[in-house]
Amino acid sequence: ETIAEACGLDLNTRILAFKPAPPESRKPVDLRAQYNRPAKPVASQVRRIMTTPERVLDAPGIVDDYYLNLLDWSSVNNVAIALESNVYMWNADTGDVAALASVDESTYVAGVKWSQDGAFLGVGLGNGLVEIYDAETCTKLRTMAGHQARVGVMSWDQHILSSGSRSGAIHHHDVRIAQHKVGELLGHNSEVCGLSWRSDGLQLASGGNDNVVQIWDARSSVPRFTKTNHSAAVKALSWCPWQSNLLATGGGTMDKKIHFWNSTTGARVNTIDAGSQVTSLWWSMHTKEIISTHGFPDNNLSIWSYSSMGLVKQVDIPAHDTRVLYSSMSPDGCVLATAASDENLKFWKVYDNELKKKSVVGKTSASNMMIR
């Protein structure tokens, strides 16, 4: 009796098996499918793309975590990179490095994001606090509490800093006022790992570890669209610069898809299988292309031409030895910075200055703002 109980068996229970044998598979299952994927052909290149980085910097101790966002390039050409509990600022014009922020030893930096004018850096912490630093003086301006868990992702819209937490909550902070929390979006059931305001501030896209993409209208606290097509976490989000209602989203390891959405109708307008965990997406400011960065298994950087007919891969660069976890585009849209747990920060010249001249979008003017 005790043995039966120990086995979790009740004497009043019968264990029954369905006797008929299950049907044989009609054909052999390709057991290797998940690990050996056919290599996607790359189109013959229409233009020359540099496949070696222009510059490599050391990023010792960079945290190896998909859910964090530790690299951001400002509109005034400062690159912020977080290494454990410190944030450094590398000036891409002068090459100078400054220690911008140092957070409490008991926690770590989980996310960094420059304000649109490049004057202030939002810093999300492992303990759920959000801090704001002044780039000019390298001092902390304020600390905003409210989240119950770490803040790994942020996005600015003028004076509103939106922050996503491991709890699944998104908060809007008005950084000018004392009672900073002006909005709360409770749409995700798991960590928010992607967050991006459209440049006109009319819509916000969010992606989570719950595999969901949500699109929110500004000032609304219910999602306009909830998209469940991805089958892994969604970190990569990018709004198209030449068609404001076109959103690209990329899925994690078990998904590997990039979906394209019309954010007005909620329709999925395109999909590609990128073949690897998607870690970031960057629309080109110069040509009708989109850049994707990847983790498992290829750790690559790809450039795709985009048209309503579909996408064609232009180039595939084995960018790092390990997952390309963090990336950011230079303000002129020509250089992509990438960082990985191989502790390298690499700079890729994805567009040259020739292309820059015939840009498809005008340079967005950054407005100034004040933080109390």
């Binding site: 229970t13 264990i15 029954l16 098996a17 008929p20 049907p23 598979s25 009609r26 390709d30 998940q34």
Partner: protein, 205 residues
């Protein structure tokens, strides 16, 4: 689901049994797809529980699962079932490699109280969200389960009450627990009447 869900506040036992049986049908299909027991082109995507689910389009497999689910539903309706188990086995060696166990807990066996709707109704949307979260976890298990690189087959077991009526195509079985297995507890979902939780055990060599 849409056909039997009562318009009134709570799911009846009948409705709940139907919902749970249907969930098992989708869950078994998901496992067969995900674990490569049948080739991926034998499955199609359907919209269910607010997410994309995969179900077999192979008539034989479909009929096989339906037979199991139909009997399961009968037991469920009479409150006779305690567990549903899917065992994945190496076809050649006969070794059990993976064991998915769904525990069925009957929250409210007393039918009288059900009729009076004394319990607070659980909104359908909430149930759906819980199922969604469970299915998402089932999907996430591929991140750690070993690839099944031998040809595998599956068997379904149930733990039923001793006094259950047993059709002839069901036979007594041992529990087929895995030795030295890794075990993972997934989340649960509940209706007003049933609580279902899920565990997966697997072997690594």
């Amino acid at each position: 689901m849409a056909t039997t869900v009562p318009t009134r506040s709570s799911l009846s036992l009948k409705g709940s049994a139907k919902l749970v049986s249907e969930f098992f049908e989708y869950a078994v299909n998901s496992i067969l797809f995900q674990r490569g027991i049948y080739p991926p082109e034998d499955f199609k995507v359907v919209r269910k529980y607010g997410i994309n689910m995969l179900i077999t389009i192979d008539d034989e497999v479909k009929a096989y699962i339906r037979r199991i689910i139909a009997q399961l539903h009968r037991w469920m309706y009479r409150g006779k079932i305690q567990k549903l188990v899917v065992v994945i086995t190496d076809k050649d060696t006969g070794d059990d490699l993976e064991r998915w166990q769904f525990n069925v807990e009957i929250l409210c066996k007393n039918e009288d109280s059900i009729g009076e709707e004394s319990k607070e109704a659980k909104p359908e949307k909430e149930i759906q969200n819980e199922i969604q979260a469970l299915i998402r976890q089932v999907t996430a298990t591929i991140t750690f389960l070993p690839q099944l690189d031998t040809r595998c087959t599956f068997n379904v077991l149930v733990y039923a009450d001793k006094d259950s009526e047993v059709p002839t195509d069901w036979v007594d079985s041992d529990p087929r627990q895995l030795q030295n297995a890794e075990q993972v507890q997934l989340r649960s979902f509940s209706t007003n009447m049933h609580k279902i939780d899920c565990q997966v055990a697997y072997r690594m060599n």
